[in-house]
Every structure is written in structure tokens, then in C-alpha cells.
């Protein structure tokens, strides 16, 4: 019976690590979003280093597990009470100093070596200041969405971080300053970097240097209130050319098409503007996400639903339906008015 449990747990453990590896390796073409972000399928430097280090730790622990569990299984099977027992007590052994010394020293040495490796990796990955040529991005956590600023590019957006791919010939790492507007959140894109808390009143940092284009999904990892579950963040890694194109698009002001002038006016007359910014219009609210290029984003409500015309309508009508507790109120507009407003927003590419 103990043998069964050992087999079961060790198999599961090994199998699991293996599966996540394979899943990572197989996970689709570059542009398809990988929505199951295995930490064992890293594509960017902190995560890649962590991955190698993690496997070392798993290996050390695995060896310890096999040895100790094996010994335990052997003892349990070998010394179970036999049918032909004579009823006498077994010899009483009170201890053994050499053995105690052995199983104190060997673990001590293991811990010592593992500590050295760990300290080295910590030193390698934790950066307190931005190296001069790295692109800075400020990430502001809000209940329950992410605000993103590119100070050098003059871009403000939300819930979708765009960065250029970095290759060894021309490295283009991104350095993220993490700030919070309200409570503690945690920035976590498993395939790019380990997590780092976003703490109000503090500046934390994390950096990424993705080696592959694609879309990588992560979400807030520190419980931050009612909608902690719907605080996703997508990182889109572009080729350098695509990144320039994206940045130029984001730098533009919103262009107003005449066909949606009515919707635009309605939007500007409603309280939407006290919470949202649309650059190029008087709307300059800072409570909610910048909507200037809303339609360039894949989701609404920090990943709560896909961004398309129908969902946009539904969201404006009742954000609470998709994200109960959300800090955007239903504005009580008529259906026709919602269509007009949504029609306007749908042009904000």
C-alpha cells in the first residue's frame, strides 16, 4: 500500500512537469495567444533563467524524494508484522551517533550548495535601476485593470503591453516600473518573468526580454478585491517593425469620422468623460482605461470579455453583468444611445 502511493505521487509529479514542458513546447504558432501560460515554457530572459534554475531545484528535490521515499517503502514492507510472528518485542535500538551525524551533514551540504546557486540567480535577475538603453514602461495597477505608460514614446494604454522582440544581435529589453493606485496587485506573465508585487507607495521593478513574438497572457496574482479574478494582462511581443507601427498608431490622436459624430457628441455629454480619456477630444478622465485606441485591444474589462462590437454594446449597457463589482457604473442609457456611443467607440482604432 505505501508502494502504491509512492508510485502514484512520484509519477504524477514527474508526469506533470513533463506534460507542462511538452504543452509549452507544442503551444502553437507565434501569434496565437497562449492562454495556459506554463512556467516551464519560458520565452524571455528572467523566466528562462528561472526555468533552468527551477529544474535544478526540482532535480535535487526529486533525488531526495526518491531516496527517502524508497528507504521508507523498503522499511515499511520489510518490517511489517508477519503472519508467523512470535509475539516478542523486536530489539530496541536507541539511536546511532554516526547515522545522526550523516543525516545532519549531508542535508547541510546540500542546503549550502543550493543556497549559493540561489543567491547567484537572485543577483542576476533582480535589477533595481534601469540600464540606460532599456525601454521604460510604467505599469499602474488599478482595481481591476492595468494602466500602461510609455514615457519615452508618449503612449498611454491599458491591459495590453506591447513590446518589441529582443534578439541577441540587437537586444531590446523592456524595464517595467510597477506602481499601484489603490491596493496591492501582482504583475505576473509566467512565460516572461516571475511575479513582482505592485505595491502602493513603492516602486518595484521587473524586466522582460522576450525572444519570440507572440501573445502571452498573465493576470494579477495578489488578491486585490472583488474582481481579482478578472484582472488579466496580455503582453504582445512584436517584431521591431511591427512594434514601430503599433507605437506610431498609438501616438496618434483619435480621428473622428463624420458618420459617428452623433455618437461622439453623446459620449462627450455623458459622464463617461469624467472617467475616460479619448485624446483629441475633451474627454480626459483618469479613473478608467484610456479609450483613444480602444479597438486596437483584444479584450474589454481586463480580459473579462472579447472586444467586438456586440460585446462593447453589452459592456456599456451593464459592465456589472460581466464583471460584478466593477468600478464602472451602468450609465442607464437607452438602447439607441448605447448603439450611438458604442458606434463611436468602435471607430477608435
Amino acid at each position: 500500500m505505501p508502494r502504491l502511493r509512492l508510485a502514484e505521487s512520484s509519477l504524477l509529479f514527474v508526469g506533470l512537469a513533463f506534460c507542462t514542458r511538452v504543452a509549452g513546447a507544442l503551444s502553437g504558432p507565434a501569434q496565437a495567444p497562449i492562454s495556459t501560460p506554463s512556467i516551464f515554457a519560458p520565452v524571455s530572459r528572467p523566466a528562462v533563467v528561472i526555468d533552468a534554475y527551477a529544474w535544478l531545484v526540482v532535480a535535487v528535490c526529486g533525488v531526495i524524494f526518491v531516496l527517502v521515499a524508497g528507504l521508507l517503502c523498503f522499511a515499511l514492507l520489510r518490517f511489517r508484522l508477519r503472519g508467523d510472528d512470535d509475539g516478542r518485542e523486536p530489539p530496541q535500538v536507541y539511536g546511532s551517533n554516526p547515522l545522526e551525524l550523516a543525516w545532519t551533514l549531508i542535508p547541510l551540504i546540500t542546503v549550502f550548495l543550493l543556497s549559493l546557486v540561489s543567491i547567484r540567480v537572485v543577483g542576476e535577475l533582480q535589477l533595481e535601476t534601469r540600464p540606460p538603453d532599456w525601454m521604460p514602461v510604467t505599469v499602474v495597477g488599478h482595481q481591476w485593470w492595468w494602466e500602461l505608460h510609455y514615457p519615452e514614446l508618449g503612449i498611454t494604454t491599458a491591459n495590453e503591453l506591447h513590446v518589441p522582440v529582443s534578439d541577441p544581435a540587437s537586444p531590446r529589453p523592456t524595464f517595467l516600473n510597477l506602481q499601484s493606485q489603490d491596493v496591492i496587485h501582482s504583475f505576473w506573465i509566467p512565460q516572461l518573468a516571475g511575479k513582482m508585487d505592485v505595491v502602493p507607495g513603492r516602486q518595484n521593478h521587473v524586466w522582460v526580454e522576450p525572444a519570440r513574438t507572440g501573445v502571452y497572457v498573465g493576470q494579477c496574482a495578489e488578491y486585490c478585491g472583488t474582481q481579482h479574478a478578472n484582472m488579466l494582462l496580455r503582453v504582445v511581443v512584436h517584431t521591431p517593425e511591427d512594434f514601430e507601427r503599433w507605437a506610431r498608431g498609438q501616438q496618434r490622436q483619435a480621428v473622428s469620422e463624420a458618420s459617428v459624430a452623433e455618437g461622439r457628441d453623446l459620449f462627450l455629454r455623458t459622464a463617461c468623460v469624467s472617467c475616460h480619456t479619448v485624446r483629441g477630444t475633451p474627454a480626459a478622465g483618469r479613473v478608467g482605461p484610456d479609450l483613444t485606441h480602444l479597438m486596437s485591444r483584444a479584450t474589454l474589462g481586463a480580459g473579462a470579455l472579447r472586444n467586438d462590437a456586440a460585446n462593447l454594446n453589452a459592456w456599456i449597457q451593464s459592465p456589472d453583468h460581466f464583471k460584478p463589482g466593477v468600478h464602472m457604473p451602468a450609465m442607464g442609457l437607452q438602447d439607441a444611445e448605447i448603439n450611438l456611443v458604442a458606434g463611436f467607440l468602435a471607430t477608435l482604432k
Binding site: 528561472i50 518490517f79 518485542e89 523486536p90 543556497s115 507607495g201 521593478h205 496574482a221 481579482h228 479574478a229
Partner: protein, 559 residues
Amino acid sequence: MSSADLPLHASVEVPPAISWTDRLHGWVATVDHKRLGVLYVASGLVFLLVGGSQASMMRMQLFYAGNDLLSPEVFNRFFTVHGTSMVFFVGMPLVIGIANYLLPLMIGARDMAFPRLNAWGFWMFLFGALLFYFSYVGADGLYGAGTAPDVGWFAYSPLTGKAFSRGNSTDYWVLGILVAGFGSISAAINMIATTLTMRCRGMTLGRMPLFVWMMLVVSWLILVAMGPLTAAQVMLLFDRFLGAHFFDTQAGGDAVLWQHFFWFFGHPEVYILIIPGFAYASEIIPVFSRKVIFGYPVMVAATCAIGLLSLGVWAHHMFVVGLGKGVTSWFVVATMLVGVPTGIKIFNWIGTIYGGKLHFRVPMLFCTAFLFQFLIAGLTGIMLAAAPFDWQLSDSYFVVAHFHYVLIGGLVFTIFAAIYYWFPKVTGRMLSERLGRWHFWLFVVGFQLTFTTMHAQGLLGMPRRIYTYSADRNWEIWNQITTTGVLFQALGIAVFVCAIFHALRRGEPAGDDPWNAWTLEWSTSSPPPEYNFAEEPEVKSRRPLWDLKHPDDPDWRHE
């Protein structure tokens, strides 16, 4: 295994028939450490059922992607109340209660050093717990329906500030734990005083059962760790009611300060809960291996080392808060070091088993599972201690898996072992071996299904405390296995409840010493009389009953 007729035997009394009001009064007004122990354990088990039901509801919610069985508000309250209950109102009373019952018996004393303080401690715990649960009806005062706290069991600021947590639910969280905490502190003082001053003749510190040693270390840890928590809670109340700004980041307070306070308590708390598990295992494994514990002095030293080290590792819960390289490295090394004395214990238990004659009765079955599960828990603990690895694992389901391996795989399994082992002493009746085996196997299977798979969700990027996830994240299948395990665990618990009622009504009489054991509690009658021992026992070794049963080869010749 037949019991020898022992000279320390107390005479059996037949109590006169009494009315139920007298009996109730007897329980409410009691200062007898045994009755208080039973009260502690019984209330702990009731809260275990309550906390378990909350967990089952959460698991049902997560069974399907995008499920809407529970609203986010209800879900967030459940995980807060579940976590808080399991630590403060299940773990603590069970651990303190079992010690309360056994500690005086094991050292040959007639009661705890401060019997009335003992009763006070129990009622503080119970009313603290009830105050906490009262939030469900009273958290918004008289002005509306109540809501339970929803800030998570470690209640990170500034989420607990007035700005983000309106109403009074957080205050119930603070006050409930504060009140129960006074109970724990008084219990700790009592256990230390009892152990240091009330041991029977001949019981030097070096002859105390390991159980007593370990509870002594636990008591010290409670004393050291509970203070900072209480202080932090009072500071939080100041913030919420008196306009202080300790943790109020919008007015220059520090969110991380709370974490230091909390985890300075929170990490030792883990050991406050798991060392008693070691204590039960250290009594049960030798008896069912029919061998003396291997390396007694080393076990004592390892326990003290764990106690000391556990006070210097708290920030490993904060590796992702941005500690800086130096602090991170320190806490990596310190945390990994705890693995050494913990490993020593596992090796000594194996040493005890090795060369013995293993009787796989129900208590031993639970201890066996404990050894494997605790080994895994320790190793995933090393992974979490490895800071860069922890940057990925922290706050994910991997952590949830890890600490349930510790607290269920380690503590709850040994508590079940302890209940099957000492129930005969407490009630005079045996728990059914057959039902016990059903309980064990259902629970083991359920536990593995639930918590082994949980590691996977964590590695696949699923954070803890989310009430929903979308189907395209491919977490559903893992969550379904996890939830299926809950069913088995629940069945196991149902069998356990049946076994208890069955035993109370129709259990086989146990006799004084059903397991042919060696410590003093087995020398008196089952259940023991109010005064425990008719005359003060005298011991010459760590296993006084072994000496009696084997006058030809007593222990004191070898110690």
C-alpha cells in the same frame, strides 16, 4: 497485545445518576483539563466541518470554467472565512485541546498548573470564533444584512483600510482572532508552567515524552509569535477607527509593514500547527513499530532548532514584494536551513520503523501516509524557499497545494492518527478498525486527487483566490480532478463521524492500555478519573510502562 496489570491503576468509580442540567453545568463550569481538552477538540472538529463545507462550495464553483454557482463576493468571503477558520478555529483548538488532555497525564500530573486560566482560555477561543462567525449576520451593524470578511486570511493592507473595506466585516476578522489569540496565549503559558513545574517524581526534562517536549516548544512559539499579530491587529483597529495611518498608504503608511508583522506571526504559526503533528507521530510510530523512538536527544534538539529557526524565516512569504537582493538571499538560506532539522526528524522516524514489527492499525496507517505526504510538503517547501522559483510559484495554486500538504497531509492526518490512538483513553471505547480503514483510504485517495493535481494549476499559471477562469485557459480538467477529490475526502469524513458515534454507543471496551503502549497516560483507567492518578507515579526512564512490562531489560539501563 494484552495489558499487564499495572500498579498505578486507579479504582473505577460508578458515578451516581445526574440530570442533564447538572451535566451541562458540569461541562460549562469545568476546570478539569480533560473535559476542557474534549471541549476544545469537539469544537475544533465542528469548525472543521464548517470550514470543509466552505472549501467544498469553492471547489464546486471552480469545477466548471465560468461557473456562476457562487458570486465573486460570496466566493471571496468563503476563502477568507475558510482560511481563517482552519488556522485559528480548527488547527489551534485541536492542537491545544489534544495537549490539554494529554500533557498532564503524560507527566503524571493531576491537572494543568492553572486550571481556571485553562477554562478561560477555552472560552476565549470559543467566543472569539463565534464573534468572527457573527459577522455573517452582524457585520453591517444594525443597518443591513451582514457580510463576512472578504480580505483573505492574511488580510493584506491597504485592502483592509477603511477606504477599501467598508462596513465592519474586517473588524470582525480582527476582533475574532484577537479574542481567540488571548485564549491561545493563556494556553501556552499554562502548558509551559505545567511542563516546567508539575512533572512527577523522576521525570527529568530528559525523560519527558517527545510529545511533551514538542508541545513545550510549540508553547514558546505561541508566546513569541502571537504578540506581534495582536499588536498589528490593534494598529489596524487604530487605522480604522482612530485615524491612524500605520498601513494607510494614501497617507504615507506602509503596506509592507503589515506583511512583516503578519508573517512574523504567520510563519511560526505554521510550526505551531505542524510540530504537534510531529508530536503525535513521535508517540504513535514507536508504539506500532514496537520500538523505542530512534535518537531521542536528537529529536529534542531538532525540535528546538526548528522552533528557533522558524522565527527567522518569515519574509519567505514576501519574496515577491520587492525585498532587495540582500534580504532575499538571507531568507532563502534561513528557510532552506529549516529543512535540515526537519529532515533529521523524518530520518529518525524511519530509524524507528527500521527493524521494528509494524502493526498497521488505523493510527499507524495515518502516520504512514503522513510520512510520505510530509516528505513531499517539505520538498515543495524547498522549491518555494528557492526565491527565484518562488517568483513563479508564489500566490499560485502551487502554494495552495504546498500548504495543504503541510496542514492536511501533515497535521490533519496526524490528528486523525491521534484521535484513533487516544480515543480509547478518553472514552474507554475503541473506534471501529473497519470504519477507520474506510475513513483512511477514502481520505488518502481524496487528498491525493485534490492536492497533488493542484500543483499543476499553479505551474500552468493559475493564481490563487480567483472565483472564475475562462474555458480557453485549459485549467478546467485539472480543477475537475481537484474537485472530484473533495468528494472522496467528504465521504471519508462522513465515515469518521459515523465511527465516532458508533464507538460512543457500541464501541468495544478499550481497557486501560489497548495498544500495549509505554507512556504514563496508559497506566491509569480509561477514561481517567478526575484526579488522573490515585497516587503520584514515579518514573525511572522515558518509557515507564516498558520498564514495568520488561523488568528484565528496562529502558533506564540504556538511556
